[in-house]
């Protein structure tokens, strides 16, 4: 993208530095995304990333964690996710054992002994707030829109106060604030309370230039012509109104598959064979075959390429 302030910004541009660090982890972030991530770090706020499936919401968190040398704690959300699986749980078996041992030793285990930190099983959210070691933590709450409202409410305390309340132990506040990244696919509307606590960023499909750059980074062995024409074809497909438009990860998988098959340019038969990498819905595949394939192949000069 054009970089108007590049001349005088020089080395002191932390946003560009962050983008460069991410690029070192094979993640090509555009300037707005890098800005949001930088601000999240400076302000100590969680980031809520939304976007179509396959635009790299989860992988940005992975790249960020790797770049910072942080430990990635990932919480995959699903319907019915409860406090036991997300926050903490008491290790009942060990508690019972401790009671029995105390009895055998002649005394009785007191409540404070049994409900101590060593009997606590740390699930992702607590693990991020109260880690066992000194490493920085990046908490990834993946696909938060799949969880139900009850779970969203549970998240609020963690997101705004960076603390977890355990009735038996009291409130545990983070000594060092974890970086928190939430991702969502818009399968349902998230509550305003959750949104309000985060910086919001919508990740669009990348521009052609950026997508080519991403594929170059991710599939180093692919031929330049294949990458350029392949990305252009995917960008065309996205405008055709399919039920599930191919994301960047689909592009990467597809071009990796084509490279693996030894292709150096688009060929009709190969495209047909590998279409499943791009379109992952039976209706879309049918639609492509019946409606769009001739037009697309004509545009790319593949009609007589059998």
């Amino acid at each position: 993208m054009p970089d108007p302030g590049a001349g005088d910004a020089g080395a002191g541009d932390p946003i560009r530095d962050l983008a460069a660090v991410l690029a070192g982890q094979d993640y090509i972030a555009d300037r707005p995304l890098a800005t949001v991530l930088y601000l999240a770090g400076e302000l100590g706020l969680p980031v809520l990333l939304e976007g179509e499936p396959g635009v790299g919401k989860t992988s940005v968190a992975e790249a960020l964690a790797a770049a910072r040398g942080a430990r990635l704690v990932r919480l995959q959300c699903y319907e019915g996710l409860s406090a036991h699986q997300a926050l903490y749980e008491w290790d009942y078996a060990r508690q019972l054992l401790a009671i029995r041992m105390a009895e055998a030793a002649g005394g009785a285990a007191t409540r404070s002994q049994v409900f101590g930190a060593e009997f606590l099983l740390r699930r992702p959210l607590l693990d991020a707030i109260w880690p066992g070691d000194d490493r920085e933590v990046l908490l990834l709450v993946d696909e938060v829109d799949r969880a139900d409202e009850e779970f969203e409410a549970l998240l609020l305390e963690v997101l705004s106060q960076f603390q977890v309340t355990i009735p038996e132990l009291g409130t545990i506040a983070a000594v060092r604030r974890p970086t928190i990244v939430l991702t969502a696919n818009r399968t349902r509307a998230l509550s305003d309370a959750l949104r309000r606590r985060c910086l919001y960023h919508w990740i669009p499909f990348p521009t052609l230039e950026r997508e080519i750059e991403i594929v170059r980074t991710r599939v180093p062995g692919a031929s330049e012509r294949l990458v350029q024409r392949g990305c252009l074809l995917v960008q065309r497909l996205r405008t055709h109104g399919y039920r599930k438009a191919p994301g960047v990860s689909e592009t990467v998988d597809w071009l990796r598959a084509l490279t693996l098959l030894g292709a150096h340019d688009l060929e009709r038969s190969r495209v047909d064979d590998t279409l499943g990498c791009l379109l992952k819905d039976s209706d879309d595949v049918r639609l492509f075959g019946e409606r769009d394939s001739e037009r697309v192949y004509a545009e790319f000069g593949l009609l007589d390429g059998r």
Partner: protein, 396 residues
């Protein structure tokens, strides 16, 4: 966002620009007011975050400032689009008329900043806001008078009222049996909860004295009903409205709306009043019973309304009662059906002409919508409704 809304937003941005003082905190606050005015709900805390965020940036990098303000002040893609529409205008260094948009003088009454000359009332900006609303109001009035014919819409089915209510209740129950994923632990239930039993029995020193059991919590089914009351539906409107009314009174977790050109939610009115007063209310509030149909447009308002009410969940069943006759934009209809389908559990389309057309609709709007419909069923009389309900019951 359609053209009118966009134009209105840009006009508002031009107006608020005049209030900029050059002091950043103040200007961000005014910008927030602008966003709220065009429909982006910005909480107060977000303004503080935004001002804090700007401290960390080089203010000469305009794109960074834009990103920072966007990520702090908006909380959704829709909001982001509105933001994009007004950002360049509000934060422009150029004079206001560079956008061929003159500022309205009546606006705020505050002194304009040096860079923004106040160039008198502009017809363009005024059209964007006030008169558009007025025009909408006149259309409503006009269609309202058409409905004033009083062709006995309620009188069609005084005797069948009870039957209809019965069917509504059975339908709600058939659609309602959703087993939830969450469990509740207590003294009764089909399974033993070992963990909770152990924990519960810690008070007895770890002897398993009492067994705790879990059972699935049944989620209450959510229904959303959208009923077409346009002129093409006129023969069936009384029946449909009576059915929606019965359903609304029976089912607590239900949202109901009626539409033709505009979409209006009627949940509260239907729930509070018996059928005849409820229909009177509809008529008095110039909800256009019988007009043209813009399904796409209305679907958008409907889904937006549902989202605001928190009524679109993974277990929501959406009922659309319409013949699918559409004079609006077909692309919008398709996009909105896709959106509705992706957020709801099931979309059921009830068409009074479905059986007559052999379940292969010829109507353009309906053919557009059909790929996103789970069940396409006939509802032309009480009898077909009865069959429909039995079918739903047998499948549930």
């Amino acid at each position: 966002m359609d053209g009118d809304a966009r134009f209105g937003a840009v006009a508002a941005a031009g107006r608020h620009r005049g209030r900029r003082s050059g002091e950043l905190t103040h200007d961000v606050a005014v910008f927030t007011e602008l966003l709220r005015e065009i429909g982006v709900p910005v909480p107060a805390s977000a303004v503080i975050t935004a001002v804090g965020a700007l401290d960390h940036l080089r203010l000469d990098r305009r794109d960074d400032v834009e990103t920072a303000l966007r990520c702090c002040l908006t909380a959704g893609e829709e909001d982001g689009r509105l933001f994009d529409a007004v950002f360049q205008v509000y934060w422009s260094a150029r004079a206001a008329d560079a956008f061929s948009l003159l500022e309205t003088s009546g606006g705020t009454g505050e002194a304009p900043s040096a860079g923004a000359p106040q160039t008198g009332g502009s017809p363009a900006a005024a059209v964007g806001r006030g008169e558009a609303g007025e025009a909408a109001a006149t259309t409503r009035q006009a269609t309202y008078s058409r409905t004033g014919r009083g062709d006995g819409r309620v009188a069609v089915l005084p005797g069948s009222q009870r039957q209809l209510e019965d069917l509504a209740r059975r339908m709600a129950r058939a659609l309602g049996a959703v087993g939830g994923r969450r469990t509740r632990t207590g003294e009764h239930g089909e399974r033993v909860d070992v963990r909770d039993s152990l924990r519960h029995n810690l008070r007895f020193g770890g002897e398993l004295v009492l067994l705790r059991r879990t059972r699935r919590v049944e989620e209450r089914a959510r229904l959303a009903v959208l009923c077409d009351v346009s002129s093409s539906m006129q023969p069936y409107t009384p029946l449909f409205l009576a059915f929606v009314h019965a359903l609304t009174r029976r089912v607590r977790s239900l949202e109901a709306a009626v539409f033709d050109v505009e979409c209006s939610f009627v949940t509260d009115v239907f729930r509070r009043h018996p059928l005849a007063p409820a229909l009177d209310w509809l008529r008095q509030h110039s909800v256009t019973l019988a007009g043209g149909t813009r399904i796409g447009h209305c679907l958008r308002d409907f889904t937006n309304g549902l989202e605001v009410r928190g009524a679109v969940r993974a277990n929501t069943t959406v009922l659309v009662l319409s013949d699918g006759w559409d004079v609006g934009e077909p692309e919008l209809l398709e996009a909105e059906m896709r959106r509705l389908r992706s957020s709801a559990r099931r979309v059921i389309w009830l068409d009074p002409y479905a059986a007559a057309a052999g379940y292969t609709p010829e109507v353009g709007g309906l053919r557009r919508a059909l790929p996103f419909v789970d069940d396409y069923l006939d509802f032309s009389s009480l009898r077909s409704l009865g069959e429909l309900v039995s079918r739903l019951e047998s499948r549930a």
